[in-house]
Symmetry: C2
Subunit: 389 residues, 2 copies
């Protein structure tokens, strides 16, 4: 049975062949520690890192590649943004569609004395910018927002909220886990101060990569301190980018792959990627809409969402549906709460969860049609189809 | 010109072919996010992670593989150990041979009210265990020690200091960046509570891997919070290992490579690796000792050190020597302060630094002889040899 992979919101697969090639090339020919030693392999490793920074900067409208900080994953980038800025007594505004990578650090900070407002979104995940403005207080320091829900794909109004942040002189933090690489983003246009990205999702890099764009104006404290290969003579952390936030040996091999992934996207053009994924999402939504017994969650408008579609089959448990899709049809999905209990409460699917189909550049219309057929078959069979399990 | 790589203390190179193979295999055949989705690829990714935990546990005498936490690098592991435990008012004891990955977090904690004692080592990097015992106070909470100096290789007396830690009921943290993979370590025998390891040095994994062994008795706070794929229904961090400390998508492809690297070492036997490297270190020390104009730093006893040798050529700058070794002879070294200003002050080479030769499993006696010949030639030429630059 061939694999139909629709779990791209967790991690994208497959990757362009260039990604593995860049990684193997690094492992075999370069291998060295960047920015530490002065020899030719070390200099070459430094070049690999820098070229990846350039690619990411180009993708996200970042002027200076040195403002791109690489981290283990987008979760680390978000922790760095939140813990590196918020102090007891500060107020922070967020949405009810956030992933645990935002909600868990915020709940922790709340315990330490940070005040938190969670602006309620609609059951389709839409956020009303005016509700954000209303939540602003004298001690508000930051707005942190996901760009697109990882559960139902809804795009949040970054432009409007970015304007509010600028007017009210608040720091604007964006979780672009689901959009960087598959949706056009320009950090300056959107007034974003800190943007966290996942390297291994739509940016098509390997797992172990992510990062944070840090605007020059933001004074952030590091999460970690240690060897940076720079200012070795001091036992205090250097205060320039990106070294301040990249202590210890970086994941150079992973970043080599990420650079190749992002360059692949830049070659296609991010608008082309977006068009392809909107087309597939529309086909999927339209098809699901016609299957009796399916409930779809989210905006149900491909243009208003990232290529993520959540659904349930009436009368069946999401976990049973996911299991059957995998076992009988070779379709990879993610079921349950998707590390986003706030979002599931917002859309009314807590604690049962949903089945999530998430599309990527390498999915085809044939994949979508096959998945629709499989879901229709499961619906027709209903409970009877599960007797064998 | 072929490359003679003697910068293994920064990162090991080359790696066993199995490492790249495991990584490519993961990229091409598995690719999925471990512990998140329930489908077959996700389960397979979880298995890759677990098998790497088992290999690391086996290498380091750790009973339960779930006590192995993977991090971006050893620096993150050390930050987790230090920041996750030390509170204002606590006292911590360390040595004067530490890397900036220990000294920079400790200086930061000192600013926050943690008391710090740096026990002075000798100019060969030796630590007197009695000096550690003398430093213990009523509020002492932790001893943190490097296992071997990254500058001159000196092995610190873990056994004796571990006993002191146990007797005084202190938490014992070990930085095994230079020894995990090339020197036998048993965390129980040495009374180690937290052991930080680098995946990409002697453990032969790729960059982007490292980790922390966490004893069951230690109550550590995480550095980062976020999605763990577990207890998705809660917006607070789960409190079990390893999930508590592994928020966000792990570097599964890197850990796949690390698992392969560690299994390679287990197949050779870590004692065999150690014997090979002692032999090479001895040959290097003996040879350098015979070259007029060379000053060697450290114990000058291969059995008492990790395979790291620091030297200078009288009258020449370390950076010039490193440059010439690279350019003329294809020999990769690391010059300068090696992110360890405390250690260089201790051995009397601050701020000039040294040239460091660090050996690995794939170095041969031929490599050592070639390097010795190159250094002898540079010494014979002295300043005259550098006119061309």
């Amino acid at each position: 049975m061939s694999i139909i992979y629709m779990d791209n919101a967790a991690t994208s697969w497959p990757k362009p062949p260039e990604v593995s090639e860049a990684m193997v090339n690094f492992m075999k020919k370069t291998g060295a520690n960047p920015g530490r030693s002065g020899h030719r392999l070390s200099i070459e490793a430094g070049r690999v890192l820098y070229e990846a920074r350039e690619a990411v900067a180009s993708l996200l409208g970042i002027k200076n590649p040195m403002q791109v900080v690489f981290t283990l994953n987008v979760t680390e980038a978000l922790n760095l943004a939140l813990l590196g800025l918020l102090e007891p007594g500060d107020h922070v505004i967020t949405s009810s569609m956030e992933h645990n990578s935002v909600s868990r650090p915020l709940r922790y900070l709340e315990e330490k004395g940070v005040e938190l407002t969670i602006v309620q979104c609609s059951s389709t995940g839409h956020l009303e910018p005016q509700d954000v403005r209303t939540a602003v207080r004298a001690n508000t320091r930051m707005i942190v927002l996901t760009h697109a829900s990882n559960v139902i794909g809804t795009l949040l109004p970054l432009k409007e909220v970015g304007n509010i942040a600028r007017e009210c002189e608040l720091i604007f933090v964006v979780d672009a886990a689901q959009t960087a690489g598959c949706y056009p983003i320009d950090v300056s246009e959107l007034n974003i101060d800190l943007l966290a990205f996942a390297g291994h999702k739509a940016m098509l890099g390997p797992q172990g990569t992510g990062g944070l764009y840090v605007a020059e104006s933001v004074k952030l404290s590091p999460l970690k301190r240690g060897g940076t290969g720079s200012r070795s003579e001091f036992d205090i952390q250097p205060e320039f980018l990106p070294d301040q936030f990249e202590s210890g040996t970086p994941n150079t091999v992973g970043v080599a792959g990420l650079g190749a992934g992002v360059r692949f996207i830049l070659e296609q053009g991010v608008e082309t990627v977006r068009r392809h994924e909107v087309l597939l999402t529309k086909r999927l939504l339209d098809g699901l809409n016609e299957i009796e017994g399916v409930t779809i969650y989210g905006p149900l408008q491909a243009e208003e969402q990232a290529p993520v579609v959540a659904f349930n089959i009436n009368g069946l448990e999401p976990s049973d549906v996911g299991f059957a899709l995998d076992r009988r049809y070779g379709i990879m999905t993610r079921v349950g709460l998707h590390c986003a209990p706030w979002a599931h409460r917002t859309i009314g699917t807590y604690p049962r969860g949903t089945v999530r189909l998430s599309l990527g550049w390498f999915n085809t219309t044939q994949d979508v049609d096959y998945v629709l057929e499989a879901i229709a078959e499961l619906c027709r069979q209903g409970h009877h189809g599960f007797v064998e399990y």
